[in-house]
């Protein structure tokens, strides 16, 4: 029982981290809270489904197309919508929220509801660790989440674009004097975040069905992890997702599954009272707190 809880808690944590990573990346770099994040997630899930089942594209290609399309969507949203209200945080929030809602409800209107909307798992079957059975998909999620984290770390520390990302995040004006185009980097960060949402969708969605409500859940989970960890801090995301992930799994196994969704709410409330700008957000603390 305990071993099982620990393993599933770990998998749950990696799911949370995967979901929050894209949102956090965009916010950390360009300061844009992308409330259309859940919509991007659902959009990529349905896109893969349509490519696979309606158009008969092979799995690998449909995944690649979906990730590219999600990135393009993010890029477009940035250039068409966000750039015009850049700096007005509240307008950004409202515009992306409205857009995300429109995308998600459009899927509902076209009747993308039901159990037939599922994505294929990578490998069928399961293995047992001790006396705990775990399917390959969950293992794949954990591995891919860890690999992506490593990839993002390497990308932001050792490539030109990655360094430009960090430069804009640290000090936009100084970065501008080095010839970094902050608009282009902002759009790229949005594209990157959306692509991460697509990857998360492709990896996580095989565990269940693709549903419009899932988009709201993803957004809520991403917000909860980001608030607890501190917006814009990658280390914070990892720690927060481990904390919330284990707390959720323990609650589900030892108390009642019903209380699982309360965990993130309580975590948000406690963090906002005790350390409002999140556990690991040092540099932004002064800006956010009044």
């Amino acid at each position: 029982m305990l071993l099982g809880t620990l393993i599933y808690g770990f998998v749950n944590s990696t799911i949370l981290a995967l979901v929050a990573m894209g949102f956090n990346l965009t916010f950390g770099i360009s300061g844009v809270a992308n409330f259309a994040y859940g919509a991007t997630y659902i959009f990529s899930g349905f896109l893969v489904w349509i490519l696979l089942n309606s158009l008969g594209v092979p799995y690998f290609f449909s995944v690649v197309i979906a990730v590219i399309c999600a990135a393009l969507l993010g890029f477009l949203i940035y250039y068409v919508v966000i750039l015009r209200v850049k700096g007005l945080a509240l307008s950004e929030v409202m515009a992306t929220f409205g857009l995300g809602l429109a995308i998600m409800e459009l899927f509902r209107y076209f009747d993308f509801v039901g159990f037939r909307y599922t994505l294929p798992v990578f490998f069928d079957g399961s293995i047992s660790i001790g006396d705990v059975y775990i399917d390959y998909q969950r293992l794949a999620i954990a591995l891919i989440a860890m690999a992506l984290t490593l990839f993002i770390y390497l990308f932001t520390h050792h490539t030109r674009i990655g360094l430009a990302f960090r430069a804009i995040a640290q000090d936009e004006r100084t970065a501008l004097t080095f010839g970094i185009n902050s608009d282009r980097i902002g759009a790229l960060s949005m594209a990157f975040g959306s692509a991460l949402a697509a990857v998360a969708a492709i990896v996580i969605l095989p565990l269940g069905t693709i549903a419009v409500e899932g988009g709201y859940d993803v957004l809520i989970n991403a917000l909860a992890v980001c608030i607890v960890g501190g917006l814009g801090s990658t280390m914070g995301i990892l720690v927060a997702s481990v904390m919330i992930g284990f707390a959720q799994t323990f609650t589900a196994n030892y108390l009642e599954p019903h209380w699982m969704m309360l965990v993130s709410l309580i975590a948000i409330a406690v963090v906002l009272v005790v350390k409002p700008s999140g556990l690991f957000s040092h540099q932004k603390e002064l800006e956010e707190r009044i």
Partner: protein
């Protein structure tokens, strides 16, 4: 030759700004006309409508009140993405009081208004210490969480909700109750925001540190504004409960969050009359477009994006400008 547009206040606006407005009927009428329009339309014309359109008007007024409540929060710089939180909590409080203890609507609605306002304020109190998008995030999360909580724990009737509550005596009574609430909120909030107190509230939005350095406790002011906005939202919830004779999970539905937001942005934020105007445009419009079903929310989302990005001013500010100022082209030297 280059030209630019010049805007100048009308003479009558300057004349009617002060006590001198009393010097002539024209000035008094100039001041009275915009204020009389909503009152006359709401109280005078509504009994003439057919029962169906009276119903539409009731739901319009509900959304208008939620939009006004949203606007009150935006005056202090708080963006709420979850007006349904206020609606749902007001609706459940009134519903529970009526269902379990059989209180009459005469008592449940005031209790739910004040109690719901207090409860929402306490729930959101931790977020008030932060600026930026935190308030928006938490207001988005809370109604969805409440939805899950009710669904999972089956408290307060669970997915079935509380049914068979006391209705209003008649449709016209309900209509007048909500319209009276709407007019009180509209004129009351406009008065508050133009007073010295409102100056502080708007100051918090513009520059919170400057207000702090004036020795004012901005958290206390923010909490007060939140209470005002949340009470109005809770009032609509309590009203809606008795109207539908039902309190349940639809109270936390997304409609109650996105419609007021879209209405306020379309109408023009920060004026209270703008959000009301927006609601009176969007809700009847959506009633006409009823056949579209779920597509309505898509339209609201798109309306929201288009107005936020392209026409952030809103309709009301435009009308106000036309009323108070005239425009002419002048040559630029």
């Amino acid at each position: 030759m280059k030209r630019r547009k010049e805007r100048i206040d009308r003479g009558i606006k300057a004349r009617s700004e002060d006590i001198f407005a009393l010097t002539s009927y024209r000035e008094m009428l100039y001041l009275l006309f915009p204020r009389a329009v909503p009152v006359v339309i709401l109280l005078g014309l509504t009994p003439l409508l057919s029962p169906y359109w009276q119903e539409v008007l009731i739901s319009t007024a509900v959304y208008a009140l939620l939009a006004i409540s949203w606007d009150m929060l935006i005056c202090a710089g708080l963006v709420s993405l979850g007006q349904s939180l206020f609606y749902g909590i007001g609706s459940y409080i009134a519903g529970a009081l009526n269902y379990y203890w059989h209180w009459s609507p005469l008592f449940t609605i005031p209790v739910a208004t004040v109690g719901g306002g207090l409860l929402c304020t306490i729930l959101l109190l931790p977020v008030l210490r932060l600026r930026g998008i935190y308030f928006a995030m938490v207001t988005l999360v809370l109604p969805l969480m409440f939805l899950r909580l009710v669904e999972a724990t089956r408290i307060l009737g669970g997915t079935e909700g509380l049914t068979g509550l006391t209705p209003f005596p008649g449709q016209l009574t309900a209509l007048y109750v909500i319209q009276l609430g709407l007019l009180c909120a509209l004129f009351g909030f406009r008065r508050i925001i133009n007073s010295d107190y409102g100056l502080i509230v708007r100051g918090i939005n513009d520059n919170d540190r400057a207000v702090m350095s004036a020795g004012l406790n901005i958290h206390w002011y923010k909490a007060q504004v939140l209470f005002l906005g949340a009470s109005v939202g809770a009032f609509t919830g309590a009203f809606g409960t008795h109207l539908d004779m039902f309190a349940g999970m639809p109270g936390f539905a997304l409609d109650y969050s996105i419609m007021p937001l879209a209405a306020a942005v379309v109408g023009g934020t920060g004026t209270f009359a703008g959000p009301m105007l927006g609601a009176f445009i969007l809700v009847p419009l959506s009633e006409i477009l009823r056949a579209l079903g779920a597509l309505r929310i898509v339209f609201y989302g798109l309306f929201l994006v288009i107005f936020v990005v392209a026409l952030p001013e809103g309709i009301f500010h435009y009308l106000q400008r036309k009323y108070h100022q005239f425009e002419r082209w002048v040559e630029v030297e």
